[in-house]
Subunit: 385 residues, 2 copies
């Protein structure tokens, strides 16, 4: 039995069939999909005439083969791959579960197929030193940009239910704050993609980008996860800030989430089960009497996983939830509990108002614990601007 791994995809930002695995394995940026084959550790790339010369110069592979010429002749390319694999004596092919069906079904006509979630996902989840540096660089950029955004809110003045800043001829909006943050990131070479600046009821929806006026005394969730425009590595950070002290119940929510966030971080170490860390956060939020419901018509509380790996994808392995994965030294993960109430909830603890709180750091797992890659403040006092 001779085995080959087959991947297919492009590696440029915004390409439709983006493959973080191919980018990771080849370090080659290419806007249209290419075929990648690995046989017994030997890496081969099939490239079109348009890319073949550049691939030979830039791709970190053992060989670059030219494949057939005319765009649109996908089938020919795929048959060329089958011939190549047969010539090499391959009998078994490993593919990612996400491989395009047309290619996977062709391969399955000729070879034994095993589909795995992400062939390099496990290797990619443990970061090399140079990858860590890219991610930390992105994280520093996030912190500078968010500090700038927070300064804007701090300098603003509460007038009625609006925030006014001397540099703007209108009350401050989510867009103003997002432009300030994303603009600073872009100048430094990072792209904020759908950066979240969500206030009040919008903060109750974890993926709501936020728009319209910012309000005093309400949570403003700043979830910033930019990507390096050169290396394509991500960073990820969330802070929830307030212009003016919020209600006692919202402060309670903040303190519960912060407690869950900090205690979960303390459980992370090489060998720890991710599920336990998730459960720790769930328990603390419950202990603080903030209810969670995940049934149709009543989705509220802590409604997402605790965190995820960060690298060439914003969400990659490991998943810190109920997936049963184990932390390994060198993994980079977010720790981001949150509470979300899209409607007022009458609970044991009292009436919980509409709104949301999320606090997120990014850490790297070490032998005995974890190192927090996020240096940004998160105490309640420092978040009241």
């Amino acid at each position: 039995m001779k085995q080959a791994l087959v991947l297919y995809g492009a590696t440029d930002l915004g390409a439709s069939e983006f493959s973080a695995d191919i980018l990771w394995a080849t370090e080659f940026k290419v806007p249209d999909p290419v075929l990648f084959v690995q046989i017994e550790g030997r890496k081969v790339l099939f490239a079109s005439p348009l890319e073949v010369e550049r691939a030979r110069k830039e791709a970190n592979v053992d060989e670059v083969l030219l494949y057939s010429v005319i765009r649109g002749e996908q089938e020919k390319q795929e048959h060329q791959l089958v011939s190549y694999l047969k010539m090499e004596g391959v009998t078994h092919v490993t593919i990612p579960e996400s491989l395009r069906y047309s290619l996977a079904s062709l391969l399955s006509n000729h070879f034994e197929i095993s589909a795995v979630r992400s062939p390099f996902g496990k290797e990619r989840s443990v970061k090399r030193e140079d990858e860590l540096q890219e991610i930390e660089g992105a994280q520093r950029a996030v912190e500078r940009a968010v500090a700038k955004g927070i300064q804007l809110v701090r300098e603003s003045e509460i007038r009625g239910d609006e925030l006014w800043h001397a540099s703007y001829d209108h009350p401050l909006t989510s867009n103003d704050l997002r432009s300030c943050i994303d603009g600073d990131l872009y100048i430094k070479g990072y792209l904020g993609i759908d950066s979240i600046v969500a206030c009040g009821a919008q903060a109750a929806d974890p993926h709501c980008r936020g728009e319209g006026l910012l309000r005093p005394y309400q949570p403003i969730v700043l979830d910033i996860f930019p990507r390096s425009l050169t290396s394509l590595y991500f960073a990820d950070q969330t802070r929830t800030v307030f212009k003016g002290e919020p209600s006692a119940m919202v402060k309670k929510m903040y303190m519960a989430v912060l407690d869950a966030q900090e205690q979960a971080c303390m459980l992370i170490r090489d060998g720890a089960p991710t599920n336990d860390v998730m459960q720790c956060a769930v328990n603390i939020l419950e202990k603080n009497s903030f209810p969670t419901s995940l049934t149709e018509g009543a989705v509220y509380g802590f409604i997402h996983g605790l965190g995820h790996g960060v690298g060439l994808e914003i969400h990659e392995a490991p998943s810190v939830g109920r997936s049963g994965e184990i932390f390994q030294e060198g993994m980079v993960v977010t720790v981001e509990p949150g509470l979300y109430y899209g409607k007022e909830i009458v609970a044991e603890i009292g009436t919980i108002p509409i709104g949301g709180i999320r606090i997120e750091d990014m850490v790297v797992v070490t032998k005995d614990g974890c190192r927090n890659l996020t240096q940004f403040p998160k105490s309640f006092e420092e978040m009241v601007l």
Copy 2:
């Protein structure tokens, strides 16, 4: 027989399994993959608890269903889909060829499967008025930004084999010019992704991004294809410029490419075969004695297709090459012949130096011809700065 279309993917910029089809069909932006089902014109989205409320507010679909809760339980979600389709009495399922293998093979265990290239690709290729406006808006942004970049080169001074501009303490580089162009785009809400500013030998490689010093008398290829950060529609334009008049042979190359570009444009109209338009460009370049070779070890000349559709993907249907497609009123396509010589070639016409030329406009097909969406100059005289 009852039929369903099944799609799977995310719709945010930079998402790994980006689906332009889902974005087009739902107008819903979502960072993690969702399931999209269409049965007899009725559109249904399966969303996680994290997205379900937002999907109900924002997605242009008939129904949003909640699917199982915990991240990482992909299989459960997929089985939920199978149950749903059976309940609806579905017997045949259409999927995109690019659908992830795990989902496609599960569906094929329960239903008759037909895989098509891009289920909405053909519909998407003919643009609605609002889509045209998005694309034209992006094109206007390209033109403003490229004009700024060209101004920078125009204002610079030739000193030896370098270009010097008063605002820089070093000779002008590809990066300087790219930053000038991309920075202007970003301020206007567009993202230049790997914008090409490639000079001299780098211009001989169509997808080389370009780096290092810009040189006088050499072709500088400016291929700018940004994406709206809000709507995700692209535009695409290439100009080849020179600081100082190039050699007579390079001018000849430019004139041949321009002739091919303009004559190809004149053949485009509703009902015309794309292959004929491609062949027209091939013929003109041949007639001008510029040779093309696409064999291993000797890839040069006109080495790519003449053009491609532009919309929510930078390369989408139709392909203007040898795919046999037919132009239809409302299609937006690029027309971008090029000549590339990575080594000196001794040809009938004389010795062709190392370098590349590409000229690209974006047009919309009309009943009787096409309307050029690109208003930027392209005469040789105007490209010598």
